[in-house]
Amino acid sequence: MELNFEAADIAFRDEVRDFFAGSIPEDWRTRVRAGLRLNPEELIHYQKMLAERGWGAPTWPVEYGGTGWSPVQQYIFWSEAARADAPAQFHQGLELIGPIIFTYGTPEQKDKYLPRIISADDWWCQGYSEPGAGSDLAALKTTAIKDGDHYVLNGQKMWTSYAHVASHVFVLARSSQEEKRQRGISLLLLDMESPGITVRKIPTMDEKYHTNDMFLDNVRVPVENLIGEEGRGWEYGKVLLDRERMVTASVAIFLKQTISAIRSAAARRVIGNVPLIEQPGFRGKLAQFEIEVMALQTMVLRLMADAANGAESGSRGSMVKLRWSQLTQEGTALWVEALGPEAMHFEAMEGEAAGLPSLPADMPYAMQGALYARVTSIYGGSSEIQHDIIARRAFGL
């Protein structure tokens, strides 16, 4: 057992730390700490900044423009990004469809799409869920019928996050009706400009625009946009779902940011003459939270070490996803609590004669983060589904 970083890793850490020093604008930081995604244009700016340094794709092999970093280096990179209050990179192109393309794609698909993911010239979104196919994704009904050298797509996708800003979408659709529902599903790459795609906003409880309904009405997709073989998309899709859980592992590292946000709010708020952070009750709760975050981060480190040694991680990805969503929910709620009654001041009302109303520090992002956190135990395989996966994979139940 060797749990320390090697000298080369330390040198790498310093290099990354230098890169991030002073590079993150102040107005990004509070939102990042709240676990909120930055605006698309900000994320594009960030991605381009990394790409220029050659670090646009930390998890990709060198031959596709990635860094070729070891898992330990990836861990160090994310830790340093978190330390600097840098955002997590937008993952749907980089971590979801990118790896599918370089694993199963044709040489033409690789050349066409991969560089533009790294440079943020393309923005990908995921067309999986449907009104009747959430946890039970294999119930999807969208069809892709071959017509000459095109597939014609019809159906409704739901929870298509960032479809309103995306240039491309990858879609699971049924290209044939088979007895086993998981068969006959194909994975297709679509340009969002294709005629027949309509995007409609789904308002969400945190009042932030994330997600959409996406309607496909006779959308024609060239056959060369099929990934791998027709009808085998479910297998590729499942690789994506596994990958999505690994993405969570990297996001888990960012919980440290929530801790600093709670700490600074609790240090600012004084009750009587004693800062909240010095009051035993709150102190205990914060300590407990920090301990649980530490435990999760060591789980992530172990996941990385397994990956470095080429070992199977089994169901640990699901475990990390589960614990991360719980902790991001608890952390943001604790932050709201640290802010006190003013955390309920979500939005200043206009029209004040006495000058501009002022929102307290951290608002509305702390509250928005706490509300947004509720969906982390729903998306990417709900906590209930994760439990099923662990029961099956770890115990064969």
């Binding site: 959430g134 039970d136 929870w159 009587g272 609590e337 200043a348 004040e352 509720r374 209930e384």
Partner: protein
């Protein structure tokens, strides 16, 4: 012993419930939430005509002199339908504070009952936490008039108030229980700055700054307002407990319906044991909340320490149960639960708001232990 509403209270509940269903159905609620002033005003006047706004005003002051059980019947139905108006602040808490029989108090009580005025209580300050005795705002006597200076950082439901009831120090140091007095201040008083904020649950709160505000009207005896304030807040909390219970039971009902009708993997999701157990835990939380909430409300506002301890206990447990039920209702609805379109997320947000109104869980746990 009987935990149920009597026949009259049941009728009152039904009447508020009908009002809520008719005026706060999905689409109409959106319009009301969007801050349609004329519509909100119309609703408020209807509530006045039905007599609800004077339920807690004593008969000798021209009100109905209702019991806390009467109040619960009203606020439970409001919670069920997510009526987001400042009923508790105006019609429960304020009348409990305006109890000195003075002309100034009675004028305001009249206007509360008739729906002409809304009132909110301004107690919390930047360094007070939720402790009502920590008052740094001062009221000094100059030329026979009181001059107010200081800030109140959060006024529950103060966004639409016409009058504020303000705790201020006429004696003692910042954290002494003696030396606190209560003042009535109109919203347009010179020297008063009001900042207004919309909350996640559609309620509108405020922050106040008093800059040498002259001529505030004292309500009640000088220096000894704290017990009145604490009993008043206890009543406000009691009314909120019933509101939470109404919201919890309704969102549980909606969730049960979803479990029976939503199909995944070829069967209703309610056939999965893990979800059955979850909805059962939600049901237990509702039962717990209703039991302790009703129990605490029977003696709320009594002048003894066990009444205060009970309300603190009920506030802790109902808040915890409410948050649990709200979270699970969202979780069991999946993505739909996170959407703004379904009522589910609105219940969650109100239960979140209720859990901190007039004191957080930690605050009341501490009070219970004291």
């Amino acid at each position: 012993m009987d935990f149920n509403y009597n026949e009259e209270q049941q009728m009152l509940f039904d009447s508020v419930d009908r009002f809520g269903q008719q005026r706060f159905s999905q689409d109409k609620r959106r319009q009301a939430l969007a801050g349609d002033i004329a519509l909100n005003q119309k609703h408020w006047h209807e509530m006045a005509e039905l007599g609800w706004l004077m339920i807690a005003i004593p008969e000798e002051a021209g009100g109905l002199g209702g019991s806390m059980a009467d109040v619960m019947a009203i606020t439970e139905a409001m919670g069920k339908n997510l009526v987001h108006y400042p009923f508790v602040a105006t019609s429960i808490l304020a009348p409990a504070l305006l109890c000195d029989g003075s002309d100034a108090a009675n004028v305001v009580l009249d206007k509360i009952g008739s729906g002409e005025a809304k009132v909110a209580a301004a107690f919390l300050e930047a360094n007070s936490g939720y402790d009502l005795y920590r008052v740094g705002t001062t009221a000094s006597s100059q030329d026979g008039a009181y001059v107010l200076s200081g800030e109140k950082c959060h006024v529950e439901d103060g966004g639409d108030a016409d009058w504020y009831l303000v705790s201020a120090r006429t004696g003692g140091s910042d954290d002494e229980v003696e030396g606190i007095s209560l003042f009535l201040v109109p919203k347009d008083a010179p020297g008063l700055t009001v900042e207004r904020f919309r909350s996640i649950d559609g309620h509108r709160h405020a922050r106040l700054r008093f800059d040498q505000l002259r001529g505030a009207q004292r309500i009640g005896e000088a220096d000894v307002a704290l017990p009145v304030i604490e009993r008043g807040v206890a009543k406000g909390i009691g009314a909120h407990l019933a509101e939470a219970i109404g919201s919890m039971e309704e969102v549980s009902r909606v969730t049960l319906e979803h479990l029976k009708t939503r199909e995944q993997f070829g069967r209703p999701i309610g056939s999965f044991q893990v979800l059955q157990h979850r909805i059962v835990d939600m049901k237990i939380a509702c039962e717990e909340a209703r039991s302790i909430g009703s129990f605490a409300n029977v003696h709320v506002g009594d002048e003894n320490s066990s009444a205060a301890q009970r309300i603190a206990a009920a506030k802790v447990r109902v808040s915890e149960c409410g948050i649990y039920v709200g979270k699970q209702a969202v979780q069991l609805h999946g993505g739909l639960g996170f959407s703004d379109e379904l009522i589910v997320s609105h219940h969650f947000k109100r239960l979140y708001g209720l859990s901190v109104a007039y004191g957080s869980i930690d605050h009341h746990r501490k009070r219970y232990a004291e």
